[in-house]
Symmetry: C2
Subunit: 370 residues, 2 copies
């Protein structure tokens, strides 16, 4: 097994989440906090760590304005790993958050993909349309591209000048300490991301308020940078942004779910038949070699991908997931039967979702107005 | 005499312009080119070198659209050194150029002055009002602050994303080769300046066209960077920007004219009496110790600051300046008499200018509309 390596630019090998919490100085997530315990992602530890989340809990309870901000890097198909993030976004919107969604197209251009037209198409057709189908509302949602922040020049300038001026408050050594080897392109991207995180608090936007940024653990360097800069620009009276950290969804074959390997994920545009085939054929099983052995020894849900997928997002009923766990562990439930439970959940979801996705097309324009 | 050092960040000592031409690979300026020979700054070599100026001569002759772009760093009083640049800007406007004037307030914040409000006041009251009094017209003039490019969000985004995306096309080594030690703040400033130079050619502004950037020799690194990046972003079809290089105006006491030393310059807001006193008391003289000696040996106009000021901007008549030179050289004209010629020119100018400056106040708003 390769050694775990978590940077903002790539994620390799197997991740030791406890080590991440320790190294980054995060706090382990207290899942059983109302109203967050209502959401399966929080309740079952997919959101595994945080910084200053207390501030968000307080805002929700006191019904005070707050912002949920996150970014997306459009690459490839929108799959169930992306859905975990989308579900959080929509959950925050339901809790009263103003949602800021940044398409990281400047970061993409500077560090990966130069084709801006293709990237825009992917952002809208793969990401935005799925967000809408999953329940994102245009009201209280500011969906934007880093490369074209707003049709209002005052807002656009405020966003970009924050990125440029933040650079005054950084030394080259600090940037290297956070990012390692730094190129001009990476530095520019990092500064734009700092503005993504902090600009909701500018007077041209919401003014100072709590901001929650849910991210993958690999994105923490951007948060640390934004928090440092917030403290160094007292003229803006920024409230230090809060953040939560998601576990990466396990790939179908075990290991990493990767956009570059279609057999590691199920896309929300896969047909139910494709999804069924992928699960039955490729889902890594914690079952035994033979039925006899399985009945005798029981399965190993901890390494079974179908079980993990059911646990993290497809079976939200705590009693039912416990029964699945117990039955699989005891050998009562066979691997094929476990897979069929997942197939049933996934195909039912896909059928309904794809109808909603068709209707979502008409709503795209409403999101692109600002 | 200190060794000459010319960087974009500071100018020290005495400058060897021939060395600059050689080191930077510039072309010595061919002054006697219609219509540029009509302007004393071009005719007398204050504009001493260029890159690709042929393209601008062609545009002027063929009456094709072109842009004159330059930046200003508002610090201290607007003096006759600044007026040399203003006179060029206004001359280009009279030749049909669309004028782009960038207040380098992001650069100022990142490298020098943090007080944005004071900087804005200086930019408007010291710079813009003097430009207007000197003849700058609001038509065909885009005067802007780097920190708030436009009230039109499409234009603002186009300007800033060019700065961010230009970074993809640079390596850290190249930036160091051009600027030496590079901090995040300096890199951000350099990228914004690249956009200042190139963005007039974006579709949201004028589209591809010749652009002339008149600068001090110390600003050439920004031009080299912009030219390199123009070539590396073929998607924009940028025409390589042209540039000309100004000599620094000699300070009243000889040596450098410096905003931090009020006795080294005359400000356009100095009273005629102050100006007279400064010239009579401080202007470095090329005259001899005694009148007798002066009559016998003659003065040295080459080192006489009053003569140099008359030559570079206050006596535009070629016959008259030649007579002054000859009379001073022969000893016929005494230092005090030479100073009085300059005093007469300067005080007459200041009296008229300060009346125009009062009227300019009403026109400021027209320039800040975009």
């Amino acid at each position: 097994m390769a050694e775990a390596l978590v940077t903002p630019w790539e994620v390799k090998g197997t991740i030791d989440y406890d080590r991440l919490i320790k190294e980054f100085g995060l706090k382990a997530f207290l899942a059983q906090t109302d109203p967050f315990d209502k959401n399966v992602l929080f309740r079952r530890g997919s959101v595994f760590a945080h910084r200053d989340f207390e501030r968000i809990i307080a805002a929700v309870r006191e019904k005070k304005p707050f912002v949920m901000m996150t970014g997306l890097m459009p690459s490839g198909k929108f799959h169930f790993g992306h859905k975990m993030v989308a579900d959080q976004i929509i959950f925050y919107q339901s809790l009263g958050a103003k949602v800021y969604l940044a398409v990281a197209d400047i970061e993409a251009y500077n560090t990966r993909i130069a084709d801006q037209a293709a990237l825009r198409k992917t952002a809208i057709e793969e990401y935005l349309m799925n967000y809408i189908a999953l329940g994102l509302k245009p009201k209280n949602c500011d969906f934007y591209f880093q490369s074209s922040r707003s049709k209002d020049g005052e807002k656009a300038s405020a966003y970009y000048r924050l990125a440029s001026m933040a650079s005054r408050h950084l030394t080259a050594n600090e940037v290297e300490a956070i990012y390692g080897d730094i190129t001009p392109g990476k530095l520019s991207s990092a500064l734009i991301q700092v503005s993504d995180i902090l600009h909701p608090q500018l007077p041209e936007f919401e003014g100072p308020c709590p901001v929650i940024v849910p991210v993958g653990a690999d994105q923490d360097p951007h948060l640390r940078l934004a928090r440092d800069i917030a403290a160094r620009m007292p003229q803006h009276k920024f409230i230090t942004p809060s953040s939560t950290y998601n576990r990466f969804m396990v790939g179908l074959k075990g290991g990493k779910m990767s956009s570059s390997d279609p057999l590691s994920y199920i896309a929300l545009t896969d047909t139910p038949e494709e999804a069924k085939k992928k699960i039955m054929k490729y889902a890594f099983s914690g079952g035994r070699e033979t039925i006899e052995e399985h009945r005798k020894l029981g399965g190993v849900p901890e390494i079974d991908v179908s079980y993990q997928w059911l646990f993290t997002q497809f079976e939200e009923d705590d009693k039912k997931i416990k029964k699945i766990y117990d039955d699989y562990k005891s050998g009562k439930l066979l691997s094929g039967e476990l897979k069929m439970i997942l197939v049933e959940k996934v195909t039912t979801f896909l059928e309904q979702h794809q109808k909603k996705r068709e209707k979502a097309k008409d709503k795209v324009e409403e999101f692109l107005k600002a």
